[in-house]
Symmetry: C2
Subunit: 331 residues, 2 copies
Amino acid sequence: MSIKDLGEFPLIALLTAELEKGPGVLLGPGDDAAMVQSPASGATLLTCDVSVEGVHFLPSADPFDIGYKLMTANISDIAAMGGTPLYALITLVLPAATKVSWVDLLYNGIRSCAREYGVSVVGGDVSGGSSIVVSATLMGSVDPNRALMRSAAKPGDVVMVSGKLGAAQVGLEIHSGKVSASGPLAQAALCRHLRPVPRLDLAQSLADAGCRSANDISDGLASEAWEIAEASGVAICIDASLMPVHPSVSLVAGNSESALAYALYSGEEYELVFTIPPSVLEACGDVLEGCVRIGTVLAGRGAYLLSDGVTRPLGRGHVHFADGDATPDKE
Amino acid sequence: MSIKDLGEFPLIALLTAELEKGPGVLLGPGDDAAMVQSPASGATLLTCDVSVEGVHFLPSADPFDIGYKLMTANISDIAAMGGTPLYALITLVLPAATKVSWVDLLYNGIRSCAREYGVSVVGGDVSGGSSIVVSATLMGSVDPNRALMRSAAKPGDVVMVSGKLGAAQVGLEIHSGKVSASGPLAQAALCRHLRPVPRLDLAQSLADAGCRSANDISDGLASEAWEIAEASGVAICIDASLMPVHPSVSLVAGNSESALAYALYSGEEYELVFTIPPSVLEACGDVLEGCVRIGTVLAGRGAYLLSDGVTRPLGRGHVHFADGDATPDKE
């Protein structure tokens, strides 16, 4: 059955029927606006992410994955501020021929991820359209005195990353059929691509420990390093020899240079890149398990890569609009 | 120049450069999430609205109008809860060939409306895509004890509307060239279509006076009456002879039956329909200037129209997905 056959209001009823009314939800979907308890921590976080057919996902993608990953992207943004994700709004643009079962699976993915991280879906909007667009806005809370801001990096800070990089891109290439691979490493890469894990607990522990500057890796480590450098008015120097390359990159990269490019430019990793003063670093202890030092914050401007004794500006990686209309770029 | 020529990051820089950092904004665009002061009133309102090329606006529409009206729709939703609009996030899906000047005008419209109603734009997301989709999420505040909820109508309440209806549809028909008209009435209708006014002050005065149930008229009075009736578990009976028809409807409606249909089904009016106990009504005084009684809340279920002594169920009006893919339905 298509959503045209079902109709707008029954579709909304279907999508909202299974939403749980979580703590703090005073009024869920169905009125002009949702009403939630204002966070007591003092500050509210707001972020949004959009996922577009033909750009972020192929028409053949599993709708559960699309929904799950959309929520992950938003939760990861709240995590990267040191915050707690709380409430989400979902906007759907759907062609009339879209199957009801497709939308139902999409919402299963959204609900599943939301439940896992304690997020309540409290409202949204639906509209017809010529291609599928799914977007989510997420509200969270944070203590403003311990928020993780990309503008807070200082010369002398150590640059760290929370896990091994490159697997999301490898998983994408396997999933899209560009690369043929099987076995444990291929499965690990697919898993990173389809079910990335926002580093919520780690980010909160870092904020507790006194870290003040972080980004989640959504557009690739290189792009995030540039953003921190520009927002903080500092130079960031990444040491190529310290970059933690995920073992699955060996499935696709023919040499160490290619492997490094995967680690630097793979997007949708949702690991954290953060900067931390050496004094705080010592006090962190077990919090930093799995995290690796990859570079240093220096006085200056821009992001650089130190490789074989030579320092050169770091390329930024993928940008939107550069590849023409609706060209799949991340998926 | 197209946004492809400009590039993603310069586009974001252009759009965020002119945003004013309003009161309560702790961190505006540029980080993983925006950070704002949590409302002290106790409750946070969240709403979102999407505007799709070919569905909500024609490709030839003035981008300033699209942006302005998108904000109006969201502000009206916060108003209809008795709340105060505060912060907005904007999501743009744009084909790479979109002109930079088009996006700049869209944002001028968004900023202009935001400024008028004290809203700060604090963040957003951009992506490529095959057609234009613009959506906004608006956060507001409200005292939860005096929120206007569509579930709060009670038998015995009077049903009222805040202005004369039908002009938004008339303005749409003139604007789209379906109808040819000029003169003061045509201008009034065009104005209602292009620059609808969210009834923010009235809604807050109604909440102050003790009104507890309201909807803004975004999908047509009939649809809103149904929503209040269903959410409140009551029957709403609208008296056709009391319906305030905007004088511009005379430009397009050949008889009183057609004129009534305009008043019942015209969407994007952004007037308020509200229900109010007779005792509260008496205490309202000047607050209700311009408001008209159109019916009564009764025990029962559903929305009805009393016309020429006969009561019959009220049709709902427009729904999404019913008219095929991307068929312009409101514009």
